[in-house]
Symmetry: C2
DNA sequence: ATATGCAATGTTATAACGTTCCATTCTAGG
DNA sequence: CCTAGAATGGAACGTTATAACATTGCATAT
């Protein structure tokens, strides 16, 4: 029954062995949202990877660029299509998912669980504990950090001996712009 | 392009029209977790539905029972199989998903987004704003409520004019029992 | 009794998301 | 160079969810 895939397992193990440092250095800068030049971001990510001794390959860089270039959370299959369109590079699902795994492990991207889609991460340089606000109208997401929420969650967890390893905090609703534009519809 | 499914849309509209009251009556009872007799729970849910003037049908009741009987978050397809096994009732995916939609709308069940699985809801009688602690070893989940977290999220949202409609808060890790039992593995 | 309306469910097909398994290519260190 | 391990390619498959359309069954009006 416990039949498993060696290559994939190794891939996971490798990723685990190269996990970024996890000292919490939470972000309280609330004005940094929304203004990110894709190329600068990718350059920063590349520098971070070099520093960590992990490889920012062409594929991974392309995927990250596409995430930054996208106007909102992007599915793995959309990334496949975008890669084919932009770079004339046709890859299969496993390739994209591996690249996404790498980016997530390095804190360069996150998965929005409630959308099965992926976003680039605003603060790759720190251990981030993001939360996301997702507009159901314009399908954009905003990354946010709130150490007080993280602290409360940690407190609750500690209350019954739970050891937390990963948090998913997603708030769905309507952004200010869509609320103004759309009326009550 | 905007070709859509009338039946499904109507289903959604009907659900929206019968949404439960949403005055926040948060739960601070931390000892009520884990001790729930399925039949009592289903009976309570049935009473709530009657009170609200919505129908707790046989199918919906079966799905809810199966959720309560299950030892952890359960996928829609697992519910299909369980329904076939237990009730000799073979249904298709849409049927299960519709029942789950109903239960979620009534606050009787929740989806664990990070697992694509469903759990029965501990506090159907109030507007709940749950958070879940999910053990990656034993695959169980624990429902929790923390109004302070909800308040912080609301505060953050209000800070940039975001109107929140739904929250997903999931913490993955290892429960106390598995931590004791499993060592560091 | 027949017609109409409508909530709920049934059925088939397919879209969308993700993984297994195995082959091949690339790349850093001896 | 050479080779071990990291990275990628790709067919097939598994899993999750919805579209589109048909039917059941009950209530009320004619």
């Amino acid at each position: 029954m416990e039949r498993y895939n060696i290559a994939y397992r190794l891939h996971k193990v490798r990723l685990a062995m190269t996990e970024p440092p996890t000292q919490p250095r939470p972000c309280t800068d609330r004005d940094c949202r929304g203004q990110h030049a894709p190329h600068e971001r990718v350059a920063l990510a590349t520098a971070i990877c070099r520093e960590r001794g992990v490889q920012m390959t062409e594929l991974r860089k392309s995927i990250l660029e596409l995430l930054w270039a996208s106007c909102g959370p992007t599915s793995a299959y959309q990334l496949m299509e975008a890669l084919k369109r932009r770079d004339s590079r046709a890859v299969g699902p496993p390739t994209v998912y591996r690249a996404l795994d790498f980016l997530m492990t390095q804190g360069l991207a996150s998965k929005i669980e409630s959308l099965n889609a992926y976003v680039p991460c605003v603060h790759p340089e720190r251990d981030h504990d993001c939360l996301f606000f997702i507009c159901r109208d314009c399908r954009t997401s905003v990354e946010f950090e709130n150490p007080r929420i993280a602290a409360l969650l940690a407190e609750d967890a500690a209350g019954f001996g739970f050891v937390a390893t990963r948090r998913t905090v997603e708030v769905e609703g309507r952004c200010a712009r869509c609320t103004e534009a759309g009326g009550t519809a």
